[in-house]
């Protein structure tokens, strides 16, 4: 029986506090390390809600990291049809 006390850290992806701590135990020291092990921060809000919370859980004395955590385009979700109205991409495959 699953007790209904699980604390969700990443609400979009439904990742619990316990899963985050397990990832840290496995060696994660960065947001990317957590993301690759749990899928946290990869939801519709792209980590806007949960990234801060997770950062606070990471070991303070963190291992040296080469992380180049970057937010890649698009910053907002955009419809493919709207993007393709862009003139610059016309003509290549027609």
């Amino acid at each position: 029986m699953e007790a209904n006390t699980a604390k969700f850290i990443c609400r979009c992806q439904e990742i619990t506090e316990e899963e985050i701590y397990k990832a840290i135990e496995d060696g994660a020291t960065t947001i990317k390390g957590i993301k690759d092990r749990t899928e946290a921060t990869m939801g519709l809000c792209q980590g806007r809600t949960c990234r801060r919370l997770i950062e606070r859980m990471l070991p303070a004395s963190g291992e040296p990291s080469r992380e180049r955590y970057s937010c890649r385009p698009p910053v907002r979700t955009v419809k493919i049809g709207d993007l393709l109205k862009d003139e610059s991409s016309k003509g290549e495959f027609e």
Partner: protein, 402 residues
């Protein structure tokens, strides 16, 4: 100084697969990764355990043996790796492509892969979303999908379960030899005495080679991918196109437009959460992992041309990864001439997930000096096959240090 039998350098899918197999076979092993697992290409890729994208012959046969191993891996791992048989359809858009794909599929059938070619009507009936610009499609049920990061994590955690020592955030700075034999690995966190060192650094493998004076012809070949919002089931198979196959093996067939030179070809898979991954490119731009607006527009335009319903879907993210490309499309595996104990396990181009399971097995057979369970011609995978290659010309042609 600590001491193990084997040091595996690189915590991507290949290094973790090798460490897992070695540890399971009872070899004392340390996995040394300068950053974290999945720091390289193994978290910047698609999800396919693909057979149809393998060249008929050794390449395809390795993938066929590899795919058989995933159900067994899943049983041995604690967490779900999302291995699922899905099949693939490859859209064919012109009569010329149809001829090339007909021959390709026939050769694959001779290798025991059951690929059929459907005309347009049959293709659209099978995959109603695929009603765009195409004259037909291949169809094969043998291909599968997987969760790349969870696969790497699965190998990593199981390796630790069997006793492998994990050394993350540990950079390999040098390799010490003694009498032509590997003696120890020198890292920023101390030295590790060992008899074997496995170079599983993917696109970065040439830098590890240089430490011992080895020239390794591997070049980073960038692939860009677009991720959409989660969707209900969009297609019931992986979808590729004939251009994708050409971009991989014969980019010279593509033409000379800007999109052709970027190696634009369709790959479409769907994760368990419902996100579509839409690819992709094949570009030689050195170690540049940025995404470009141009490529993303070409990718989406081409994809929507084949699957028009994509136009109504939102994209949420983009990423790029570096495939470890080799001149003949096969990975570089096994011993190297002149340095006893130095073992290669890199250069899997766009096939590293698919070939990870068989690579782990083969490298373990080599290190344990066991009779192989497979009849692969290992000389075709050896570094020595490139002994006459002009490495400077290779590096220049493929923009290695651009």
């Amino acid at each position: 100084m600590s001491s193990v039998d084997a040091v595996v350098i690189g915590g991507g899918v290949i290094g973790c697969a090798v460490a897992y197999n070695l540890a399971k076979a009872g070899v004392s092993v340390a996995i040394v990764e300068r950053d974290d697992i999945c720091a390289g290409t193994s978290a910047a890729c698609d999800t396919a355990i693909h057979l149809q994208s393998k060249s008929p012959g050794l390449h395809l046969r390795m993938a066929q043996e590899s795919i058989k191993l995933f159900p067994e891996l899943q049983k041995d791992f604690d967490e779900d790796i999302h291995f699922k048989k899905t099949g693939t359809m490859i859209a064919i858009q012109t009569r010329e492509q149809n001829e090339v794909m007909r021959v390709f599929a026939e050769r694959q059938r001779n290798n025991g892969l059951d690929v059929v070619i459907l005309d347009r009507a049959a293709a659209v009936e099978k995959q109603p979303m695929m009603k765009g610009d195409l004259v037909g499609a291949t169809y094969c049920t043998a291909d599968a999908t997987i969760h790349p990061q969870f696969l790497t994590k699965g190998y990593f955690q199981a390796a630790k379960k069997y006793g492998a020592k994990a050394m993350l955030h540990t950079n390999v700075e040098n390799i010490a030899l003694k009498d032509g034999h590997v003696a120890s690995v020198i890292t920023n966190r101390g030295n590790i005495q060992c008899k074997y060192v496995v170079n599983a650094c993917g696109a970065y493998a040439p830098f590890i080679g240089k430490l011992t004076g080895l020239d390794i012809p591997i070049a980073p070949r960038r692939g860009q991918i677009v991720v959409t919002e989660p969707m209900p089931k969009f297609t019931h198979t992986i979808v590729n196109c004939a251009r994708y196959i050409a971009a991989k093996f014969r980019p010279d067939l593509l033409g000379t437009s800007e999109a052709d030179r970027m190696g634009i070809g369709l790959s479409l898979t769907q994760t368990e959460r419902g996100n579509l991954l839409i690819g992709g490119t094949r570009e030689f731009v050195g170690y540049d992992t940025r995404t470009t607006q141009k490529a993303l527009l070409y990718i989406l335009q081409h994809a929507a041309n084949i699957l028009p319903a994509l136009k109504d879907i939102h994209i949420i993210r983009t990423f790029a990864g570096l495939r470890p490309f080799t001149p003949d499309g096969l990975p570089i595996l096994g011993n190297v001439p002149g340095i006893e104990g130095f073992v290669m396990a890199a250069g899997h181009e766009g096939d590293g997930l698919a070939l990870s399971a068989i690579t782990g097995r083969l490298i373990t057979e080599i290190i344990c000096e066991k009779q192989s369970a497979y009849d692969f011609d290992l000389t075709k995978l050896s570094l020595e096959r490139y002994k006459n290659l002009d490495i400077k010309a290779f590096e220049a042609q493929y923009a290695v240090y651009k």
